[in-house]
Amino acid sequence: MNPLRDAWQSIVRRDPLSTDKGKSELVFLNVWLHIHPAKVRKEHFKLKHTWYLGFITFFLFLILVTTGVALMFYYRPQSPQAYQDMKDLRFVVFLGPFLRNMHRWSAHGMVICVFLHMCRVFYTGSYKKPRQFNWVVGVGLFLLTLGLSFTGYLLPWDQLAFWAITVGTNIGSYAPLVGSRLRELMLGGHGVGESALLRFYVLHVAVLPSLMVLLTMVHFWRVRKDGGLSRPLWKLKPESSAPLVTIGEAANPELAITLVPAARDKTYGLMEVVTGKPLFETVTEEEEEDTVFSYPFAFFREAIALLATVTTVMAVSLFWNAPLEELANPAKTPNPAKAPWYFLGLQELVSHSALLGGVVVPGLAVLVLLAIPYLDSNPSRRPAERKWAIWAFTAFVVVNVVLIVIGTLFRGPGWALVPPWVHVPGVE
């Protein structure tokens, strides 16, 4: 009868959150939250298993989109206004330096976290059947992250930006057949200039973010359909041997090899029924304790991950300023001219051999990365049973890190090996 309450209930149509029904409806009646199951198993949210890296990467992306749109109000992708706009953001715009810093540090953070997330997924063997294709989607997201970082790197239009992209696009042009054509398409010319700035801007604010969002949707959907977030199955207590009825496509008999029987994963097509007697005997008593409502268990943890990410980025942005060098000058090459840090490993390889180091090795690396779930026939996820895979991947990670460290810290003018503690006179 109360018109205010009626109005409220026309908007919020679920039962109160104090009831079980309400907790479930919060999830499956809500457009933003219904990717979650209404109830989750606690194992899916073990901090030391996933480190919440996927969440953190996604949250960093959200920070990047928000701060990026804010920055768009004050930035023109034209030479030389772009540089002047960077100066205005630094000196004149309210919260300009803070927002720019947040954007820059989130970007670096996202590249690091997406890589760490990939490592975590590998080390926990979470790419194995039936999750193989989601790994491929993930590698796609990783490459998109690098692409977004690379296109954004040019936008300040300072010496750092100009020459990093010159080096980066030149490395790309070594690809056989398509390399130079691709470079010309990206740059809209033969070198980095006005056209390149505009194209990189469009890629950075429209094309790549859209692709990122589309692939992210696929990625999250598949995580849900493949049985939810990764859990450390080999560490858990053995479940009871009560007979179970499986519903939907959730049966995974292969996992029976470990101490864990067939998992009941949350992939039901039906909404979970929570009032009254369950229609099916789907869970054992022990499992009942491990299964909780997403609200508040999962959402709390996600909120904390979000807050931790945001506060860390804010704290860093308060104290450390993103760099801005002099206006881009095509006539003056800094020595050494370095690609952005995540491509420095590549630049190091290229310095040894353009074809082998710039094309063959990285190309093979990406192909192998994409094919990992299909090359790996070992169904076990236990570290003890995958020693070779773990060593191989670790070697890959270490080599990447070492190459990047060499490129960043140990290469001086003329790409000569100069330890970082030695000061070379005359270098600006």
Partner: protein
């Protein structure tokens, strides 16, 4: 099971108190951020000609009919008894630049025929408001300074 329930009970209470406080802090942070966004979007500098500017020493301006400054779109009046006054040359109807006619000591707008009297008030035509008069002061270096951000009544004069 009862031990479990006790733990859960702890959780519920602490959830409501700490959780509620956390939510309050979060809403406060969001509110503050929204305010900050509005301030962020408000320009601190304008890439436009400045609203206050100098037009030269008093001696540059003749008595009698006003001097028209085209770039600044103002009329500078100088009266022997009363001093200086500065009127806007922008018609209040739709923004065209009016012209001053000495024959009838009034401003005529070429666009839709509005006519303003010598004191800026509307004589006839579609203009809804009188012409604006701007504050004019004497700066410390002896030049006249006009401030379009300060609109003054038509009776305002600067005696030099």
């Amino acid at each position: 099971m009862s031990q479990q329930e006790k733990n859960n009970a702890m959780n519920r209470r602490s959830f409501l108190s700490w959780g509620g406080a956390g939510l309050a802090a979060l809403w406060a942070a969001i509110g503050v951020s929204l305010g900050a966004v509005v301030r962020f979007l408000s320009p601190s500098v304008y890439y436009e000609p400045p609203l206050d500017f100098k037009i030269g020493p008093p001696g540059d301006f003749a008595f009698g009919p006003p001097t028209f400054l085209a770039d600044e779109k103002i009329f500078v009046f100088r009266d022997r008894e009363k001093g200086f006054a500065v009127a806007s040359a922008v018609c209040t109807h739709l923004g065209c630049t009016v012209g001053y006619f000495q024959s009838d000591a009034s401003f005529h707008c070429p666009c839709h025929g509005s006519v303003f009297r010598g004191d800026g008030s509307v004589q006839h035509g579609p203009a809804p408001r009188p012409l604006e008069w701007f504050e004019v002061t004497l700066a410390r270096d002896g030049q006249l300074k006009v401030d379009k951000d300060h609109v003054v009544p038509g009776s305002y004069r600067l005696m030099v």
